[in-house]
């Protein structure tokens, strides 16, 4: 807090030094954020001998061999495919069931609504570690162990509440008069919801889908516990490769870079909603 009072005040000083102090703070912070990622990228473009034998700030012998290894070896790239499959399944399921529920929460009072809403929140807050073991038993007993759908359903634990909260936040912003006018015009609920309401909150649906996608993509504990071979996610592939007969740092770094790519690609489109998404739709 002391730093903040030290900031030159708006009223007293000219605007030039103020801009500079802002610039310095932001530059320092952004450099702090980018440096570790840069280092990962740097390592992924080096050969292992360069990594281990000399300390270089940028690759001396630029190589794409590490990426080539991942993209040609099925045991590596199937990890990405598996992750993609269960993440997409989870996103579709989460958003599909959350849409009507969020509409109900945003428009109506009904018995126990507040308690239900709170209960959903507790699921977002529940530690996956608590659920890992019972999930393992549950999905083993119904024969879904090591399938994509098992991971997709397990991730619903925290993604469905998230989707409901985000969508509810967006739906609150749509005036109720629109619903009423549509009903007077003779629209049925289903037709109104699909034809009129969903286009109105299209950005909300996009943001909810993005966050479901992301939280399912970054999760490791449950996806690792529920899979062994056929549905093994890239995250688990990475941790298991570390440890086996020395560590192939270059390939590990390249695999890491490739997991950041999907998020980085779409981040520009959701930049204005990212706070809202992380805040469970409450901003």
């Amino acid at each position: 807090m002391a730093d903040m009072t030290a900031n030159p005040s708006v009223a007293r000083k000219a605007s030039l030094p103020r801009i500079n102090s802002r610039l310095v703070v932001m530059t320092l912070y952004l450099v702090f954020l980018m440096l570790p990622i840069y280092w990962l990228l740097n390592m992924s473009l080096k050969t292992n001998s360069e990594i281990l034998n000399s300390f270089t700030l940028w690759p001396q012998n630029l190589t794409f061999a590490n990426y080539a290894t991942i993209l040609t070896d099925a045991s590596w790239y199937m990890g990405y495919v598996n992750s993609m499959i269960y993440v997409v399944m989870n996103t579709v399921i989460s958003v599909a069931v959350a849409l009507p529920a969020a509409y109900a929460f945003s428009r109506y009072h009904f018995m126990g609504d507040k308690h239900l809403f709170f209960w959903l929140l507790t699921n977002r807050m529940a530690p996956p570690a608590v659920f890992a073991l019972p999930f393992f038993q549950l999905y083993s007993s119904v024969g879904l162990f090591d399938t994509h759908i098992a991971v997709a359903l397990a991730h619903c634990l925290f993604n469905v509440p998230l989707a409901v909260w985000i969508l509810e936040g967006f739906m609150r912003g749509v005036p109720k008069e629109i619903d009423e006018t549509a009903y007077i015009d003779g629209y049925s609920f289903g037709r109104f919801f699909v034809k009129i309401f969903m286009p109105l909150i299209a950005s909300g649906i996009g943001v909810a889908a993005f966050f479901c996608f992301m939280f399912s993509w970054v999760e490791l504990l449950l996806s690792r516990t529920l899979t062994s071979v056929d549905a093994k996610p890239i995250a688990a592939t990475m941790t298991r490769t570390v440890g086996a007969s020395g560590i192939d740092w270059g390939v590990l770094a390249a695999a890491g870079v490739l997991t950041i790519v999907p998020g980085a690609l779409v981040i520009y489109f959701v930049r204005n909603y990212i706070a809202k998404g992380f805040a469970l739709g409450r901003v």
């Binding site: 932001m26 529940a126 530690p127 570690a129 634990l157 490791l220």
Partner: protein, 291 residues
């Protein structure tokens, strides 16, 4: 906020969510309760153990130590991330290209898979190949996160600050954006100091989002597993064995169903109590703003 109408039929719209979450939350929780009062010997044979596991876990050092470490970790990262996040938010550009640029770059760490966050810092902190470890080593600092208690903690804390401070900053920034210019102009006329502007205009407007940020950061740090697991694996010794790491070790490593289940229930109760307190405060804040 708009007035809502009372309509109990809305229950049908919530039904799919209810079914799905019941399947993925209620059934597992019931199972955990069942396991917690029984002893198991392989091939799913269970024997009644009563409250034995709870008694054992409550009297055992192990859980209390993990809880203590967990509390310390959460407290430290909150104490760093919240002020730092606010500070960064105050310094962010208000609009234009650079605002978008900052938003995008700051969001990047939030989208990195958690085990990759661990991998990044595992590499970054190594004295032989990592920039951070190499630099510290060259400066003569005794740094080794796999051997040294302080290095391990420092690495994990810096890693969490790197990973999540942007979340606090983004939320605080969103709160700041909602302050009308007129407020600042009024403050200018009153010749309010920078601190007064912060204390009486910016902070109250940010309160709502800050509560959410603190709730999320507290909860997520309270169940942190993947990142420290990848970096330190809970070591050196048990120095960074937090609640989730200990629980997974017990449940999936040693397959001690009973004690792990008892542990889970107590863990969950603590989470439930804290969630409830935050939720109550949040809804009360909402109401006051609505009035």
């Amino acid at each position: 906020m708009q007035e809502k109408t009372v309509n109990h039929k809305a229950w049908f719209l919530v039904l799919p969510v209810l079914a799905l979450v019941a399947f993925s939350a209620v059934i597992p929780l019931m199972t955990v309760v069942n396991y917690s009062v029984q002893d198991s010997f392989g091939n799913n044979q269970f024997f009644w153990a009563g409250l034995e596991w709870f008694r054992e876990m409550l009297s055992e050092e192990r859980m209390w130590n993990a809880l203590g470490r967990q509390m310390a970790f959460s407290a430290i990262i909150l104490a760093i991330e919240v002020p730092l996040g606010i500070f960064v938010a105050l310094n962010m550009p208000k609009s234009g290209f650079w605002a978008s640029f900052c938003l995008v770059v700051m969001s990047l760490p939030l989208l990195v898979p958690w085990n990759v966050v661990g991998t990044i810092w595992q590499i970054f902190g190594r004295v032989d190949i990592g920039l951070l470890g190499y630099t510290l080593d060259a400066l003569g600092v005794n740094y080794n996160y796999t051997q040294d208690f302080i290095s391990a903690w420092a690495t994990l804390i810096v890693m969490d600050v790197w990973h999540w401070t942007s979340l606090v900053a983004l939320l605080a920034y969103a709160g700041l954006q909602s302050i009308p210019d007129a407020y600042y102009q009024a403050a200018k006329i009153d010749q309010a100091s920078r601190w007064k502007v912060f204390r009486y205009i910016e902070l109250p407007k940010m309160m709502g989002v800050l509560m959410i940020a603190i709730l999320l950061r507290f909860m997520d740090s309270f169940m942190i597993y993947t990142e420290p697991f990848v970096v330190t694996g809970g070591g050196p010794g048990n120095a960074t064995t937090f609640l989730s790491i200990d629980l997974v070790k017990m449940a999936l490593g040693q397959f001690d169903l009973g004690p792990a289940a008892a542990f889970s229930i107590m863990y969950f109760l603590v989470i439930l109590a804290i969630s409830w307190v935050f939720y109550t405060v949040m809804t009360n804040l909402d109401k006051r703003e609505g009035k």
